[in-house]
């Protein structure tokens, strides 16, 4: 069973908590699909994705024990 750790930042924490474990998601697209089913409010949020601390801009395959971070933009100053 493949396990992936997901980290949330900013106001995404209010929706999904600071982190969670997901099983058997093979790509970032699959992960997002499952997350949006579990947390519908995520659909209205803007965020960027990093896999193992590297930002990605296209669907990316996930590996055992990798970490996916979801970070929203901040504008405050």
């Amino acid at each position: 069973m493949m396990r992936v750790e997901v980290l949330f930042f900013g106001k995404l924490v209010d929706i999904a908590g600071a982190s969670l474990q997901m099983n058997n998601v093979r790509s970032t697209d699959e992960l997002l699909e499952q997350l949006r089913l579990q947390y519908p409010a995520l659909a209205a949020e803007k965020f960027m994705i990093a896999v193992d601390k590297k930002t990605i801009s296209t669907n990316t395959s996930l590996t055992e024990n990798c970490t996916v971070a979801l970070l929203p933009p901040f504008s405050g100053g």
């Binding site: 930042f9 519908p40 960027m48 970070l71 933009p73 901040f74 405050g76």
Partner: protein, 374 residues
């Protein structure tokens, strides 16, 4: 100031290993533009001025308010109502009279950005809105200026150095992180979400640190990297920013194009799904064939009895879509933000099969309007 005084003022950093007279000389001949003299701008300005940066520009069109004082530590109660740039320079001149200040008591816009930014070597962004942040980023890429970036939200901060020349190549910029500006309502601002005063103090100080490193060539810059800091648990998370090939196409290639790009519009709610005003809302109520939905939590005030409606809180909307049998759905909440988010969700779900509307200004504005018309 004579050399003895100069030495005495900067003695603690002059004796620092890896810094010294050469680094100090670089600081004294550097010019830095600080955009925004608010929560991030205050600590930034204090440390840049104290460190001896030769020339400093400050852009801000705001005046000091009482609600600023918990985090904008350059100001005091006597300054309330006065322009921030004037108050800041007053205080900073007493800290270090040798620094040359240029103040711009105006909002940075697509029209004045190029002329203001051109006069400085390094740009530091402590602004408080996305329109300015995208404008500053794009102008820095266009003008080949390094940009020190910091931003905060609630208990977290982000920090990076963009567009710096490393091995004859410009490092990644804000568009590589977030290519497109968010629309109003997609993200919180400080006024809605709140912020603890010490957070901009921390992030602003880190921005000053990156600026000083950038000027003096000391240490390793946060180039091609994004650092996040959380004040609640002291956790930091550092990411590598991967360049996105197409982002260059999103950035104006000439000054003329930049001046024609409406950044306020790019970040505003005007292009968000169908928002209706109170008059349109009233005619929808009168229509009768429309589903009116309150997306607030069940026990939220005020309780609405003036018209019949469904109650489906935003966070359980997706589980209750079966209730929405009508072809037209009108959503409302207190201020219009959550209903806009709900409308976006339903738009994605139903596509063109249903017409989805959100009440602009929320039930708050509707009730005010009702009072006025009675």
């Amino acid at each position: 100031m004579n050399n003895d005084q100069l030495y005495e003022r900067y003695q603690r950093q002059l004796i620092l290993k890896g810094f010294g007279a050469e680094a100090q000389q670089k600081l004294l001949s550097a010019s830095v533009l600080v955009i925004g003299a608010g929560g991030l701008g205050c600590p930034l300005l204090q440390y840049l001025v104290a460190a001896g940066v030769g020339s400093i520009g400050i852009v801000d069109d705001d005046v000091v308010a009482l609600s600023n004082l918990h985090r904008q530590v350059l100001y005091n109660v006597q300054m309330i109502g006065r322009p921030k740039v004037d108050c800041a320079v007053e205080v900073l001149k007493q800290l270090n009279p040798q620094v040359r200040f240029t103040v711009y008591n105006e909002r940075l816009t697509n029209k004045n950005a190029v002329s203001i930014l051109s006069a400085f070597d390094i740009i530091v962004d402590g602004s408080d809105n996305f329109a300015t942040r995208y404008l500053v980023n794009d102008a820095c890429v266009l003008l080949n200026k390094p940009l020190v970036y910091g931003a905060i939200s609630q208990y977290e901060g982000q920090l990076a150095v963009f567009n710096v020349l490393l091995n004859h190549e410009r490092s990644t910029n804000y568009r590589d992180l977030f290519p497109h500006p968010p629309k109003e309502g997609e993200v919180l601002n400080c006024a809605e979400a709140g912020v603890l005063g010490v957070l901009p103090g921390i992030i602003g100080s880190m921005m000053a640190n990156e600026t000083i490193k950038l000027i003096t060539g000391t240490g390793t810059l946060l180039a091609n990297r994004l650092l996040t800091y959380n004040t609640l648990n002291n956790q930091t998370y550092e990411l590598e920013i991967t360049a996105i090939a197409d982002t260059r196409l999103l950035i104006p290639a000439t000054e003329a194009v930049l001046q024609q790009t409406d950044y306020e519009m790019l970040c505003s709610s005007t292009t968000v799904m169908n928002e209706i005003n109170t008059t349109q809302f009233n005619s929808m109520i009168a229509d009768g064939s429309v589903a009116i939905v309150d997306v607030r939590e069940k026990d939220e005030l005020p309780v609405i009895t003036a018209f019949s409606h469904l109650q489906i809180p935003l966070n359980s909307l997706q589980q209750h879509t079966a209730w929405l049998t009508e072809d037209t759905i009108v959503l409302f909440c207190l201020s219009g933000k959550r209903s806009a988010a709900a409308a976006k969700q339903l738009n994605e779900l139903f596509g063109t099969s249903k017409k989805i509307y959100s009440l602009k200004g929320g039930i708050q504005q509707w009730m005010q309007q009702q009072k006025q018309t009675v």
